[in-house]
Amino acid sequence: MSKAEHRRLRRRYGLARTAIAFAFLVPNLIFLTVFLLMPLVQVFIEMFQTGGLIEPIRFVGFRNWERLFHDPVVVQTLGNTLHFAVIIIPTMLILGLLIALVLQNVTRGSATIRALIYLPVLAPTVIAGLIWLFLLDPDLGAFNLFLRLIGAKQQIWLGSTALALPSVAAMEIWRSVGFWALYCLAALLGMPRELYQAAHLDGANAMQRFRVVTLPLMRRGFLFAIVLATMFVLQSLDYVYVMTDGGPANTTATFVWYIYHALFFFYRTGFGATMAVLLLLIILALSLIQMRLLRKRTGG
C-alpha cells in the first residue's frame, strides 16, 4: 500500500467514524436545539418586544427592563421567593441532617422507616399541595382540629397574609425533608470509618466527633445541597399554584408565578421574557458556583 493510499484510507475511516458518532448524537441534538436552545435565543429576542399574542409584535428596546424595575409586583414576588428560600432551605437541610444522624443508628427495620420517611417525596408536588390544602382548611383541616383539641386559637392559615407563606413553606419542607435525610445519610455512610475510630480512641465524645469529623467532611456536600435547593426553590410555581394561587394579596406569589401570569393572564410576553432573562441570570450565577463546588469535589 502506498503512503498516499494509506493516508486516504485513514481519512476515509476517520470520516466514517465521525459520521457514525454524529448519527448516535443526532436525535438528542435535534431535541436540545428545537426545544431548549432555540427557545433560549427566542427569550432574548422577545425581551426587546411587546405583543405577539393579541397585539402585533413591536420592538421596544429596553422598555421592558425599565418596566420591570418599576413594577412593584416584581419586587414583591422576588421578595416572596427569597422569603420562601430563607424559610424552606435551612429548615429542610438541618432537619434532613438531624434525621440522617439518628437514622444511621437504626439498623433493624430501617428499610420500613426509611420508606415511611421517603413517602412524601414520592407524592407529586401538586398532590402534596392538595393534601395540605385539606390539612390547612379552617373548618375541617387536621391542624385546626388539633388546635381545638389542645384549646388553642384556630387559624385561617392560607387565608391569612401573615401565615399563608409559612404554611405553604411548611408543606414544601414536609414534602422534601425525606429526600434530604437520605441525601445526608448517603454522605454520612460514605465517610471514612477510621477517622471516627481515631477520634474515639483519642477520647472525643459524640458531640466532639460530630463537630470535628462529621461537619468538616460534610461541608462540601452541604454547600452543594444549598445551591441545588436554592435553584429549586427559585423556580417554585406548582405548589403555590394549587395551594393559594399567589394569594392572599399576592403574599405567596413567587417570581415564576408572575412569569406565568404575564403570559396567560396579562398577555405581556415581552415583559414575561424579560423576567425570564432575569431568572436565567440568577440561576446561571448559582450554576457557576455549583460547577466550582463539583469540580472541587471530583478534583479533591
Partner: protein, 281 residues
C-alpha cells in the same frame, strides 16, 4: 477487639433514643398520607364531626365512584401513563446512544460539544416557558400528546448520566467485537446496553418520576379536559370540588398508589435516581 459499629459507635441508650426519634419522624412524615386514605373512605358529612374519627365505621366508596364517574379521571391516568412511558422509552434510547458516543467514540469537537450539552443543563425550564409555548403553538401541536412528549425530551441530564455509566465499562469487549466486524450499532445494542442496564434503570426511574410529577408544562401545553394529566386534572378540579375533600383525597390516593407500588418494587433504584436527579434540579 475494636468492632466498628455503623458510624458514631452508638451505645444502647442512644440506639433506643434513635429508634424513638426515627419512629416519631416516620409518623410525622406519613401521617398526612394515612389521614387522606381515611378521608377518602368517609362520607362528606362525617368530616364535620368532632372529634374526628380516624377509622371510618364502615368503608364508603362513594368518593371513588364520583371521582371515576363525574370526571375523566381514568383518561388522565391513561394520558399520564402514555406520556410518561413514551418519554421514558425515548429518553433511555437516545440518551444511552449519545452517552455511548461521548464516552467511547473519538470525533472532532467531542469535548466542546459535551461542554455545550452540559451548559444546557443550567437553563431553567421556567425561563423558556414562554418561547416554548410559542414553538408548540407554531407547530400546531397544542392540546396533543406531542406537546406533552416532545419538550421533555430536551433534557441533557440523561446524556450526562449515561456517559458516566458507559465510561466506566471496560473497552475490551467492544474492541473484540469490533475486530470481529460487528458494526458500531451492533456493539451498542448487544454489548453496551446489556452491560449498562443498572444505569438504564436509574435513568428510566428518574425520567418516569419527573414526568409523573410534571405540572407546569402540561398546564401550559394542554387545556382540553380530556388531555389533562393526573396532576393538572386534579389541580384544575380544585375550584369545582371546593371543600369536597372526600373526592380530593380519593384522587390523591389514586395518584399515589401507582408510584408507591413502583417505589416498593424498586426502592434502591428510586433513591439512586433521585440523588442523581438532584444534579439537574
Amino acid at each position: 477487639m475494636f468492632r466498628p459499629r455503623p458510624a458514631g459507635q452508638a451505645g444502647p441508650a442512644i440506639t433506643i433514643l434513635s429508634y424513638a426519634v426515627t419512629a416519631l419522624v416516620a409518623l410525622a412524615c406519613s401521617l398526612p398520607l394515612f389521614y387522606i386514605v381515611s378521608t377518602s373512605l368517609k362520607e362528606q358529612q362525617l368530616l364535620f364531626t368532632y372529634p374526628p374519627n380516624w377509622i371510618p365505621s364502615h368503608l364508603y366508596w362513594g368518593n371513588y365512584s364520583s371521582l371515576l364517574f363525574t370526571t375523566p379521571f381514568l383518561r388522565w391516568v391513561l394520558n399520564t401513563l402514555v406520556v410518561a412511558a413514551s418519554v421514558t422509552l425515548i429518553k433511555v434510547l437516545i440518551d444511552s446512544m449519545a452517552g455511548y458516543a461521548f464516552a467511547k467514540m473519538k470525533f472532532p469537537f467531542r469535548n466542546a460539544l459535551f461542554v455545550i450539552v452540559i451548559m444546557t443543563m443550567m437553563i431553567p425550564f421556567s425561563a423558556i416557558l414562554i418561547p416554548l409555548y410559542f414553538t408548540i403553538f407554531n407547530l400546531n401541536l397544542l392540546n396533543t400528546y406531542w406537546a406533552l412528549i416532545l419538550p421533555p425530551l430536551a433534557n441533557p441530564i440523561g446524556i450526562f448520566l449515561m456517559r458516566g455509566f458507559i465510561e466506566g465499562l471496560p473497552s475490551d469487549l467492544e474492541n473484540a467485537a469490533r475486530l470481529d466486524g460487528v458494526s458500531e450499532f451492533g456493539i451498542y445494542l448487544r454489548i453496551i446496553l446489556p452491560l449498562v442496564r443498572p444505569g438504564l434503570v436509574v435513568l428510566a426511574v428518574l425520567t418516569f418520576l419527573t414526568q409523573y410529577n410534571s405540572f407546569v408544562w402540561p398546564l401550559v401545553a394542554v387545556n382540553d379536559q380530556s388531555m389533562q394529566l393526573i396532576t393538572t386534572g386534579l389541580a384544575t378540579q380544585r375550584s369545582v370540588w371546593q371543600v369536597n375533600y372526600g373526592i380530593f383525597s380519593a384522587g390523591a390516593v389514586m395518584a399515589l398508589v401507582p408510584i408507591v407500588a413502583f417505589f416498593l418494587l424498586l426502592q434502591k433504584q428510586f433513591v439512586a435516581a433521585s440523588l442523581a436527579g438532584a444534579l439537574k434540579q
